[in-house]
Amino acid sequence: MKVVAVVNQKGGVAKTTTVANLGACLAERGKRTLLLDLDPQANLTVGVGVPWYELDASLHTVLLDPDESPLASVLHPIADLPLYLAPGHLDLAQTEALLLPHADKAYRLRNALETLLEEQEFDWVLIDCPPSLGTLTQNAIVAATDLLIPTEPKFYAFAGMDTLNKMIVSLTRSLRFKVELFGVLLTMFERGTRLHATIAAEIRERFGEKVFETVIYKNVRVSESEVEGLPIILFDRRASGAQNYEALAEEVLLRAAG
């Protein structure tokens, strides 16, 4: 089983879209998959058709009071797939401050996940991180076995990954965890754009085989699928966005197989 934190402190790089659509593609291949929405914007939750604003329990309650609100109790099945969501909530914006006095604040998600995995089996757990490097993202990194970094082919991507690198080094000084880079995913790619191609080549040179061969191109059908609350493969399987994520799922499975 892999627990993959999809992380990048920059917003708008397709973290949420990647979690929703990669998760759906893995589930469609028979992999029991759990999505965790740690972003207070709860876009992943809405994007797979769960109205967070009607929920009493979410990852906010799980992190604050795991005895009263265990992770297993907040799971929602998605579509007719072996796909489950632990929803996000606007209240997650307060979670960080409320966890501050707790010495185990960075371990809350890992503990909740371990309790869940004693009762249920999952092949993949994908964590949608907020666009920041605060306590919620620290929880994701500590809980994860692997990191997946979606990034736009822009120069700022280097600075963003440098900052993430610094954060990870900093966390090693105070927390017990073990995490590897599963892959860097180039997203929001525009065909025929010389700058994108050039930056992508430079990212591949720096990160080598860690960069996925699959590239996610800009595709308006993916955005439309989010409005409908459906992963793209259930909304329009023929769309190029769906094909990109199908290809990514295949590559992810191959890479996981070693």
Binding site: R110, F158, L171, T172, E180, R194
Partner: protein
């Protein structure tokens, strides 16, 4: 001409990208000792401030200094967090208790690393930013008003609350 432009762009990119460091990301990190992996779950409840990474071998002064600064930096963050929570709850007694503990850590830091320069250089947890030193210990209401720690008081706190916090800090047992 177009090729030159493309090459120039690649060169500029490469120069810019070279200044960044991705080693920890690429190589992965682990603060779980191989022997600890089976018992890693037991470590989850260990307070971050009291369990900095794996046990260190103190065979050089530099390592000893780093270990001390890591431990104190982590304790400073942990105790400041408790102070902030107590202040938010308008609990002057608890706030004073944790302020005293913060002060003790700050006094130790001041003795180990005056000015915070070493912590900055070693990039230890909680190191003060460039151009800043560790905050001074706070034992009077005047010092509290002048200190960054004063920012932890609730926005509606009055002078009496601040005075009660200081009184509780002064009366707190020394650990």
């Amino acid at each position: 001409m177009r090729q030159d432009k493309g090459q120039n762009l690649r060169e500029r990119l490469r120069r810019g990208a070279r200044s960044f460091d991705f080693d920890a990301l690429i190589q992965g990190v682990s603060t779980v000792e191989p022997a600890d992996e089976d018992t890693a779950a037991e470590a989850h409840d260990t307070p971050a401030g009291q369990a900095p990474v794996a046990p260190e071998t103190h065979d050089t002064d530099r390592q000893r200094l780093r270990a001390a600064l890591e431990t104190l930096g982590a304790r400073l963050l942990a105790e400041s967090g408790k102070l902030a929570a107590a202040c938010r709850g308008h609990d002057a007694e608890d706030s004073g208790y944790y302020l005293a503990r913060v002060n003790q850590v700050l006094e130790l830091l001041e003795s180990v690393d005056p000015g915070g320069e070493t912590a900055r250089r070693l990039q230890t947890v909680g190191a003060p930013p460039d151009g800043r030193s560790w905050p001074l210990p706070v034992w009077t209401t005047y010092e509290l008003a002048e200190s960054p720690l004063g920012g932890l008081l609730p926005s509606d706190a009055d002078e009496q609350f601040a005075a009660d916090v200081i009184a509780a800090a002064v009366a707190a047992p020394q650990s």
